[in-house]
Every structure is written in C-alpha cells, then in structure tokens.
Symmetry: C2
Subunit: 346 residues, 2 copies
C-alpha cells in the first residue's frame, strides 16, 4: 500500500510499504477514507522531535473496517474513527478514561506501527480503540470531515477546555490559533462559556474562531496582547485560559493573562528547554495548570453525538485537501502557514 | 515595644520599636499572646529572600484586641487569630475567598508594617482580617497553641490537600516533613484520605506524621523514595501529592510520585532558578499542578470549628518555646533543624 514516511527533517515521502494484516485476534485493519496533518506532525517535520529515518507518520484517520480479528466485535464494512492513541480498554487507566496512560497503548506512527497518513492501518485492541460511526456518514462529505476532527483536534480542544475549568458563563482566553486552539474555542462555547477571547493574528483563522463562538479577538502580540486581554477583563485576566501552542512564549502569555485563582488548560505539546512557567508568579496568584495529552477516545462518544445533532461542526478547520500523493505538499503548506489544517482524502 | 527585626542574613535581633497605633478607622491593634517562626522565615534568615535592613519579621500570631478603630466591630479584649496576610474583605477576590489576591492586602513584616514576632501589631481591615476566638481559649495553653496554627501552617496544609484533590478514600503522598507538610497530613486525614504516605527522614517528625494520620512513612531519598512510593501504590504513584518544600528537587520528586491523571497540591514557596517541573513528563501523564499561597483567612472558620470540637489538633508541630528575647535562638534552632517549629509566648 501507499503510506507517508518521514526520512529526515523536511523529507516527507509517500512510499510503497507492506499491507497491514491482522496479527492478534483483537486487531482490525482499517482502510483509511480520511486522514489529516496535525500541527504536532510539524515538530517532527522540522526536526524538533526525533524520528527514525523511514518511520511512518500521521495519527488522525477514519475509515472502513476491512478485516477484523476473531475477538473483534466490529465487523468488516463498519465506518470507524480512531483516536490518536490506541488503548486496551481494560486497564485501570482505560477504566477511568485516561486512555493515553494505558500501559499497552501507543501512538500511530511510532516505530513498528502504521501511521494514519496511509491507505490502511493495523489497529490493536480494535474494539476498545475505534468508535463506530453511522454508516450513512460515509456518503456525507462535510460530515465525514467534521467526524475526522474527533481523532484529535476536537477532543484535544475539549480536553483543554475541561482542564481550564470552563463552565457555563466562564470567561475564557485561548492562546493559539491553530486547529486545536480553534477547536478549543468551539469546545468552550459548547460548555457554555459566556465570553471567549481568541488570541490570533491571522484573519482567516480568527474568522473561524468567531464562527466557533469567540466573542473577542486579540490580534496583538506579547505584552500588548496581555494588556489587551486584561483590558477586556477588568484588569484581572481570564479565569479559564487555554494554551494550545506549547512554546515557552505561549505558556508565558497564558500565565500572564490568567486571573488569580484561575486555571490554564494546556494541550500544546511542550517544546523548548524551559517551561515558560514562572512558578513564583503562579504561586503568588494561585494559578493552576491542568491538561496534557488528551484522552480523546474517552471524549469521542459525547462529541460525536453533538456533531451528529448539529451542535458543533469542527470541519472549517480543514482548509486544504490533498490526495495521498499530495501529503508532502500538505506538510509544506502547513509549515509555511499557508494552510491551517490539511485534509487527506483516500 | 519589643519586636523582632532582621538586619542581614543570620542577623535577627529583638529591638525596641514604636508602639503600633490605630491609624485608620478600620484598624485594630492586637497585643500578641502567641507567635511563631515559619519555615518560610528561614528563606529571609538565610538571605535567599531579600529584606531591607531593620525590616520586621514574623507573620503568624494570635492575641487580644487592645484598641479598635471607630469602624471596627471587634471589641477591646477580644481574643483573635490573624491569617498571614491581611485583606479588605470587600473586593472581588475576598468575596470569592481568594484573600491572598486582595489588592489592598499585604503580609505582616512587609516594609512599613508590623511583624508577628513582636509584642503588638497594627492590623488593617481588622474585621475582615481577624477571626474571633472563644475567650475561654485564652486560659487553655494547649488549645491556644493549636489555634495559633490557624494563622498559617494548618490552613496552608489544608490548601495543599485541596489543591491535590484529596477526597474520601484518596491515596495521598506528602513531600516535606516540616510543619506545613505535617499539617497537610492532618488536613488530608480530615478530608478522609484512605492512605497517607509521608516522605521524611527525621523520626521525630515522621512520628508526628503518624500521629496526624500517615499510614506509611518513606524514609528514603531521591530515586529510592520514588521507588518506595511506587511500590506502595501498585507501581502507579499517588493520585494526590502534596509538595510542601518549594525546592526544585522536591518538585521533581512530587512529579515522579504522582499517578498519571493525578494532581500536585503545591504550597512550598518556590525557590531556585528552575521549577523542577518536567513539563514534558507532566504533559504525557496528565499531571495537574494546583496551589500557591494559601488564602488561610477563608479556611479559618471551618478549621477552627474542628480544632474546637477536637477533630484536629495541630499543636504537636510546635516543639520548642521561647520568649520574645529568645527569638534569635529560635531561628538558629530551626535553621539547624534542631527544632521543627518554634513557639513564641509573650
């Protein structure tokens, strides 16, 4: 089959790789219909996260079950979406919903596993990992795209909103105008936030933020952005702040715009040698930090229901579509920020 | 009057200073009956926190109202305890219980204010700041000592337990065997923790931890301590971890012994150039960080009730008593760790 591999920084290729097969009785093979490129894939693309030459890449996909192991209840032909990690569904952590800490879990594209940006994927613990979608969605292009967001960005945005403690009426500020930050706006709106301040300088992106429920946009950077958020919040900052970038600078901004006693929900994969956290400031102001890698598998059922009933539609975060052979171009476009999030149709 | 002043690192003196007076109609002057020395005072003593030469010191005291401003409802002769910061009781933050973020608040011993380790203290916003105690407590030496813990360590330990998310049945680990760490054990027990693992190497202190409810004591240090906590928790770590030291090393230990998805309640004043937080590890394991300077004023009523009804008794954290002229000796003893917490009787 054809699949995306990474050979070195900025060297993404689409290559012929072995077809996946069922190896364990709990495996399934999924034929991919939709995949996409994630902001976090860019860390590998830019050489800021190490990868072995030839390693697969991509961790977001949905598709059709093509083959199922003997112990799998899903059936050939089922339409399914995969969260960005697989998990066994039986351990202590899975039982409590922290599927990302499953000792038997793993990431698509890790060494020895298939990546999402390919024609098919072997899925371990298929029943625990995959979530079945309504078959009729396969014929609805817009819906299928919205459902693909369940594999990562929508659930990750939701995790950030939960971590930040967003409740009905909350004032929320979102640092990061990538797909996760925008989905966090949508998630905060869904949780009933009263005011949502989106920080971002790209109008195409902040327009989506407004579509998703942002009430205010702060286009300034650095200290000016902090001042602008404080001005919008009676000088106090936002009680719930979402950090969806992962750099020292973005974390620093998040701390500065959080109201005393508030919380930062952080889902940007941390990068850089420092943390950007001034613990002395956080201490004096009782600012909490809560978040991390999102257990999106746990969130899929509730978010899926709200996509199907029309409450949320994350599909606008996808602003470019490529075929499998166009994936390298997709990386370039996202790296150059000419695309927000690239959809891969197969 | 006589009061403690700090002139330079390791240079603590008891000196003659002006008697405090009521300056604002909301002030009261409190004649101090009991004060004490805090582990955080040692940071100033050791020169790790800057102080102006001659600045007052001490932030924990209880005593008798000696004079009250025209707008104060407390009366001369009332027995009262002071939290370690004053606060106006009317701002947004006071209204929601975050008294440490009161814009008009301040710390005893800050420049221009009296410190707790002296014969009397001018108390701003007396009605909002002070909490009245039962008059009969003045005649009960043990009870008076227990009530003094409300000024800081008991409320701070409680804040740590709340930050760590301690609930009925929780498994809790406490890093730090100082008075705050020990009070955190007591607070965790009060909140219904099922298992409390105290980390500490000084038997006199871990004996108090056991008295306060610790079910396990880990005397190892560094990696061995981490291994020991993991062994006690099925390899997973504790869901609620309390950090009551404030060094990089103690924060690092706290992160390592926290169960995935758990929380660190931190109340040790942060010191050192780094944070000790490996944000990458916290991210992967969804570890939350919550705490900071404790709004003890808010906690005093509930903790006071439980001291009065005998549910908790923090008095064992005081293991040495000095008079006002003995305060410099008290600092030396705490600095050398020959005393856990020094009580000052006046």
């Amino acid at each position: 089959m054809r699949a995306t591999v990474i050979h070195a920084p900025h060297d993404i290729r689409v290559a012929e790789v072995p077809d996946p097969t069922v190896r364990m009785s709990t495996d399934a093979v999924v034929r991919v219909l939709r995949a996409c490129i994630c902001g976090s894939d860019l860390w590998a693309y830019r050489g800021e996260s190490a990868r072995q030459p030839g390693q697969r890449i991509g961790h977001e996909f949905l598709g059709i079950v093509e083959e199922a192991g003997a112990d799998v209840r899903l059936r050939k032909g089922d339409l399914v979406v995969a969260p960005f990690v697989w998990s066994d569904g039986t351990c202590d952590f899975c039982a409590e919903g922290l599927t990302t800490s499953c000792p038997q879990g793993g990431f698509w594209g890790s060494v020895g596993s298939d990546g999402g940006q390919g024609e098919a994927v072997r899925v371990p613990f298929a029943d625990a990992t995959l979530v079945k979608l309504p078959a009729e969605a396969a014929g609805d292009d817009r819906l299928l795209t919205a459902l693909l967001a369940l594999s990562d960005v929508m659930g990750t945005g939701h995790h950030a909103a939960v971590g930040a403690g967003v409740k009905r009426g909350s004032t929320v500020a979102v640092v990061g105008d990538g797909a996760v930050g925008l989905c966090a706006v949508l998630a905060a709106k869904r949780l009933g936030a009263g005011r949502i301040i989106a920080l971002g300088r790209h109008q195409a992106r902040t327009d989506i933020a407004k579509l998703f429920g942002a009430t205010d946009v702060v286009a300034e950077r650095g200290e000016a952005a902090v001042d602008a958020v404080r001005e919008l919040t009676r000088g106090q900052g936002a009680r719930a702040v979402i950090e969806a970038v992962g750099t020292e600078q973005s974390m620093r901004t998040a701390v500065e715009i959080t109201r005393d006693g508030g919380a930062i929900g952080y889902v940007g994969v941390p990068h850089g040698s420092g943390t950007g956290l001034d613990l002395g400031v956080m201490f004096d102001r009782n600012i909490a930090l809560r978040g991390g890698v999102a257990p999106v598998r746990t969130y899929i059922p509730e978010l899926l229901a709200d996509i199907l009933n029309g409450t949320i539609d994350p599909s606008p975060v996808f602003d470019r579509t490529v075929g499998i052979e166009g994936v390298p171009d997709g990386y370039r476009a996202m790296d150059e920020r000419t695309a927000l999030k690239v959809l891969v149709t197969l």
